[in-house]
């Protein structure tokens, strides 16, 4: 065994992590908790991170039992409020739906959803995907698709909400939302340079223009930024590569080597990855960079053993959860992306969970467990680099040889 593939040293705290995620839900409910206050406006995303993280550790049924996904559950009490029943997460997600615009808010106050935003709309759809509820009759797919469509700008870019912030993140989110709804029109690169017309009607969005906009955000170092001209950032690289993948347009990435080298250079001596040159390593980049490298077929360009070790070093060995870097406080965002990182380098697979079963795997395009992606029949695109076999988890996507 060479040093690159050597298994990281140290335990993986399966039970602690699961417990951390499950009890987090109760902390969020507690009016006095810090966690509840800071994540209040993005609660739907927090719920998605929690569920997706737990989904990598536990089966679908266990996740439902532990989190109360599709049914109300008894919430743990903090001593003040006994026998508190928490309504099903799916029902709460629908309360965050703003029927006036067709999008989801980050939270709701009683019956009133907060203002809708693309970010939370994707998180909500991801929660519904994980809970197998995308066919719930409360989900108005046409209205949501129209909302996504209304946020596309003349130049092909997407705004995150009606107030207009533009960012390549929102293109990825728009594509992912429409793909989850089964409504993404694909550009027809073989025929004319236009978005494929599936019927007589005008396509819901101009995917061709959206993809062109993504490409206009490509930089001299091979990476991508938020908007044209903006510095390359690993998070934006994921959203741009992910968007190209969902839109089956990865062939536009000429010189994928240049981009992949930029990504490989993000690995620091600690084994962790940073988001921009000279920035500190952070566990969340395990996701942003590995997902992009997975799609590009070049995960082996970095030292996965050292990265796995870095992520394991960021675990909280007392209370569970994973932090941004060693010795910091864990949070659910880094817990999810840390688990994703371990999954994408095959580390979780090697460990095998408590019952000796294999862990569920994360899909690097949709950020959902691969069994969910497969069940939904979602098909993105990945690159086969140099004839090397595509990882098993990616074989549900179409494969581009370049």
């Amino acid at each position: 065994m060479t040093s690159e593939t050597a298994a990281p040293v140290g335990p993986f705290y399966d039970a602690l992590h699961a417990n951390y995620i499950v009890t987090l839900g109760d902390k969020l409910d507690s009016p006095t908790s810090y966690e509840g206050a800071v994540t209040e406006h993005l609660r739907v995303s927090g719920v998605y991170w929690s569920l997706a993280a737990l989904a990598l550790l536990r089966t679908e049924g266990e996740v439902d039992d532990l989190m109360g996904l599709t049914k109300p559950i008894q919430a743990a009490t903090d001593g003040t409020d006994e026998n508190k029943i928490r309504s099903a997460i799916v029902d709460w997600v629908f309360q965050c739906y703003d029927a006036r615009v067709g999008g989801f808010g980050g939270n709701c106050s009683g019956e009133n959803p907060h203002d809708a935003h693309l970010l939370y709309t994707l998180s909500a759809l991801q929660v519904l995907a994980i809970s197998n509820s995308l066919d719930d009759e409360r989900l108005d797919k046409d209205a949501i698709a129209n909302y996504v469509s209304s946020l596309q700008n003349e130049d092909g870019s997407f705004s995150g909400d009606e107030w207009g912030e533009i960012d390549t993140r929102f293109t990825y989110i728009a594509f992912s939302c429409l793909a989850l709804l089964g409504k993404l029109p694909l550009p027809d690169w073989n025929n004319s340079n236009s978005t494929q017309v599936v019927s007589e009607e005008k396509p819901i969005i101009d995917t061709y223009k959206a993809v062109k906009y993504i490409m206009s955000c490509r930089n001299f170092d091979g990476g991508f930024g938020c908007v044209p001209g903006a510095e390359s950032h690993a998070g934006q690289v994921f959203t741009c590569v992910g968007a190209l993948s969902i839109a089956q347009s990865l062939h536009l990435l000429e010189d994928a080597d240049l981009l992949s080298w930029w990504l490989a250079e993000r690995q620091c001596d600690s084994g962790g990855l940073n988001g921009r040159p000279e920035k500190q390593a952070d566990v969340c980049y395990s996701w942003w960079i590995l997902s992009a490298l997975s799609i590009l077929g070049r995960v082996d360009w970095i030292n996965t053993g050292k990265l796995g070790q870095f992520i394991l070093n960021c675990q909280d060995d007392e209370d569970g959860g994973i932090a941004d870097r060693p010795m910091d406080m864990p949070d659910v965002y880094h817990t999810f992306f840390g688990l994703c990182g371990l999954s994408l380098i095959g580390q979780l697979e090697k460990i095998g969970n408590k019952e000796g079963q294999n862990y569920r795997q994360i899909d690097p395009v949709f950020a959902l467990p691969t069994d969910v992606v497969s069940r939904l029949g979602l098909k993105a695109q990945v690159i086969r680099n140099g004839g090397v076999d595509v990882e098993k988890r990616l074989q549900l996507h179409s494969i581009l040889d370049i």
Binding site: S3, E4, L28, D29, P31, T32, G36, E40, H41, R43, K84, I85, R86, S87, A88, I89, D91, W92, Q95, N107, C108, S109, G110, E111, N112, D115, D161, W163, G164, E165, N219, F220, D221, G225, C226, V227, G229, A230, E231, S232, H233, L258, W261, W262, A264, E265, Q267, D269, G271, R276, P277, E278, K279, D300, W301, I302, N303, K306, G386
Partner: protein, 354 residues
Amino acid sequence: MNIPDVFSDIDPISQSDGPEPACAITYTPEFVEAHDYLRAVLKADERSERAFALTTICLKFNPANYTCWHFRRRCLVSLCTPTDSDARATVDVERIDTDLEFADKLGGTNPKNYQLWYHRRALLEIRFKGDERIQVAQKELGYVDKILGDDNKNYHAWSHRQWIIRTINQPQLWSAEIEYSHSKILLDPRNNSAWNQRWFATHEGEIAANSGMKLGKLSFEKAEEEANYAVCGAQVDPFNESPWRYLIGVLMEQCRWVQREEGADDKDKVNGLLRDCVAKIKDMNDSPTEDYPAGPCVSLMSALVDLLETVGDKTSLEEAKNMMGELVVEDPVRRKYWHKRQSTVLVLLGKVSE
């Protein structure tokens, strides 16, 4: 301001929390009161002085409330433009400038909240319509400089600069921005954001100077200057990734150009520049400066092998192959990568030897 007194004619709208919410939220009474009245004035779309003052209170509670920012601008625009006719001529610019200061104070020295930047942009769009647009832009660039003084990689701040310069699109601002990026690089040569800004200012500045004619590349003369600039930057600190990325970017852009039909005339010049850079980098590799530790420098070597591969003759490919062998040892984190590169270069060598 005593909110219930000032809004005595308005019925506040409270949040209707249902029983047993999945995720309950608790706020302070002051927060709840202000937002209950905000909901009421929003519903009535009351664009008044008191409504404007109420947004100030709410934004101090939560500067990320984009609904509140938007409503504040609606109020401001209504209050600044007394009549609907010829709104631009009657804009109260002082009031807009005061609100820019308000956003400044709320953001502190490290505003990462996008709403603050968006608010500035919306207000500046009004100000840029006036005759003093260049002065206003320069003042705003001064504000961004203050922010970058505190956090020299603030992503929103750099994007804001780009927006200002693109929007005004005056030669003096484009050339000043090249100088500005230079000054930031001098302060911290490892500030990759500043290198990115230099690329932006040289490239889009050139497009602007050629009245939008978009070749998507620098002229050869400019490229030569920029390549030399990058080599100088790399000489200052060869372990710095940024100048190497910049150099490769500049050279590859020219190489791609000469591969096209309309660029064929520049082929010899570009090849000359490429070889010239390779020679300089080899010199650096052979005789490291006193400031830096002797021994291999991965950033330098990885740039050099890229360029040697681009030169592509037998000798250069041999050199690249040997250097990749060194990199397998010297860059253990990316050892597999360098093994792969070695096999690629062997294929290339096979082709030139045929």
